[in-house]
């Protein structure tokens, strides 16, 4: 039985097809977000099906999640990204107790109990402070891409201190640092540490191991170590960290 999870996020859309009989992921796909989210999600869904020569009627259930979860007419139901993220992570790391997810425009922290039920969660609210968007703005200001920003940060020996977590304030703070002759790599390291410290503040005191890191920001090689340093816990990056939420949605569709 093929089930589908679709995660319509702020920056990318992800689709996972899951075979509930074999317990395996059949196919998956990811696309950058655009203006016409509905058409984009539908095209991605069809192209992932095509990889395995499947058609929509071969899929027994579709669950949509993420901010755009309401815009998928082909979904049977919606489940929030909190529940889906927990399910997806637990499939890959069954003993996970804490999940940190940093995506394009939000950051989440989930605390799980021993049975894999979400005990508590925290999310950034109105603004995109401490999210992937923050890194994008800084990278653009420094004239580099996201991976280069991360690589630069790893070369720094003397990370500068960035106090602002607000994207707008941080940008003017960085302008000031550049004017003072601070090296771009030190600014990059400061920004990475500031993002990690914000995520660790969201986690508060009681962080239980294992901590699993998901979301697009987890793709940056130096980020997990920075987060680990801020939390005082080692941080495991989920395999395919952008896809865990869509996987969780597929598991919901399979009734698992």
């Amino acid at each position: 039985m093929i089930c589908c999870g679709i995660d319509v996020g702020s920056r990318t859309v992800k689709v996972v097809l899951f075979n509930s009989r074999t317990g395996k992921i059949v196919a998956s796909g990811i696309r950058d977000q655009g203006a016409d989210q509905e058409a984009l999600a539908a095209r991605l869904f069809d192209s992932v099906l095509k990889k395995r020569a499947l058609r929509r009627r071969d899929v027994s259930g579709v669950v949509a999640t993420g901010y755009g979860r309401q815009i998928c007419p082909f979904a049977d139901t919606t489940v929030t990204e909190i529940t889906c993220q927990a399910k997806g992570v637990l499939r890959l790391a069954p003993r996970a107790m804490t999940v940190i997810d940093i995506g394009g425009q939000d950051a989440k922290l989930l605390r799980l109990d021993r049975d894999g039920v979400v005990r508590d969660f925290a999310m950034n609210d109105r603004c995109a402070a401490g999210t992937g968007r923050f890194l994008e703005v800084v990278a653009a200001r420094l004239g580099v891409g996201l991976s280069e920003l991360d690589a630069m940060a790893s070369r720094s020996r003397k990370p500068s201190v960035i106090n602002s977590t607000c994207v707008v304030f941080a940008e003017s703070e960085i302008t000031g640092l550049l004017a003072a002759g601070v090296a771009a790599r030190d600014i990059a390291a400061g920004v990475r540490a500031s993002l990690a410290s914000r995520a660790s503040r969201m986690a508060g005191r009681d962080v239980e191991d294992p901590v699993v890191f998901t979301g697009g920001v987890a793709l940056l090689p130096g980020m997990a170590a920075a987060l680990g340093a801020a939390l005082g816990h080692s941080v495991l990056v989920a395999p395919q960290p952008q896809m865990t939420c869509a996987l969780g949605a597929a598991l919901c569709a399979a009734g698992l």
Binding site: T80, T83, V117, V118, D120, D125, R126
Partner: protein
Amino acid sequence: MNRPGKDVKRRAVARQACCRGTAPAARSRRQSLSPFRWFDDMISHCLDYAEQAKASRRPIVGIMCEYTPREIIMAAGAVPVCLCGGDADTIASAEKHLPSNLCPLIKSTYGYLVEKANPFLEMADLIVAETTCDGKKKMYELMARSRPMFVLELPQKENDADAFIHWKAQVLALKVELERRFDVRITDCALRAAIRDMNEERSLRRRLASLMKAEDPPLTGRRLLDLKSSISCIPEDLAMYRNALDFLESRKRRGVSNGRVRVLVTGVPMVHGAERVLDIVEEHGGLVVCMENCTGVKPILEDVDESGPDPIEALARKYWKLPCSVKTPNESRIESLRHLVGEYRPECVVELVWQACLTYDVESDAIKTFFTEGMGLPYLKIETDYSLSDSARIAVRVEALFEIVRRMGARREKGGARAVRAVAARSAAANRRMS
């Protein structure tokens, strides 16, 4: 969004359509109105009432907190009216004088003053200001530049005998000020009459709130929230509370629960016009069975003692006990919440904190610990203001909260079934041994 200014215009149109000479017809129509329809026009009724009071030379006294004993104002022959602002549109004007990082309730209230858009504030002969938070206290200083004001100082130490003595002196000072300003004598007899009226209103509203204790309550939290008035003890309102009780208590058909998650709401007040979070909760699968805040049951849980020798003492005592986060410590809030959880049986808790409301924000840590660790109830804090930009983000969190509640419920049922099977297996084994 409802704001007095807009309601005034609607009322003026309505008045043209039905001229004042047809009072008996209007009265009979009023009797046939459903209580819900009646309270939909609450602001308009309050305006009528206030204008008539003003015409018969009764002073209008604005209040902005549940700590103010309305009874003393009523006993002075005046009309107490709540001035708390719930409209995002007035905030920009307020920010001409106030910092943007301030609670939206304070800013909206003050914005009405700047725009001269709240007819009750424009009519007010006196404003009673309460020192129930620093933001309000300093805003009142700006308001006092153009409005006659009396500041009622609330001491903050919950368990301090001296604090209560000071509070009682403040309540007495309010009485003296009203007597001086309006040239009246506030007799004990008038105070007792006002206390009886307010107790009657509190008791009716308490009975309405109690309907939510039912397994399948007859109305939503939003409907219940709408059953209240900016001016207390308007006779027609009291009649409508009774109508609502008759209608809802006798109703045989099914209630509104329909599998929705029972929610207790605590935190800051949701004043008229600022009910957005309540709507989000109820539009996403929740049923708010209890609102512990100042616009909910907090001020109506206790009455004023009618039997004591000193009505001022009785009033001071009742209002002193309100468990506001400005108090330190504020243990009676926890006690009240514990009691309400027992009575209303919520499955989870939503705490609302207006942005920059320092005292509720800080206190939320203790409230969260109490609910999650003390009561085993999932808890969600929502910090927001009056703008609508974060509604979708709030909805995600509310939906996730309900998913957690349902999963916990499913697990409990599974655990229950497992326990039943274990008992059955044990008794079967025992039976086998017996035979």
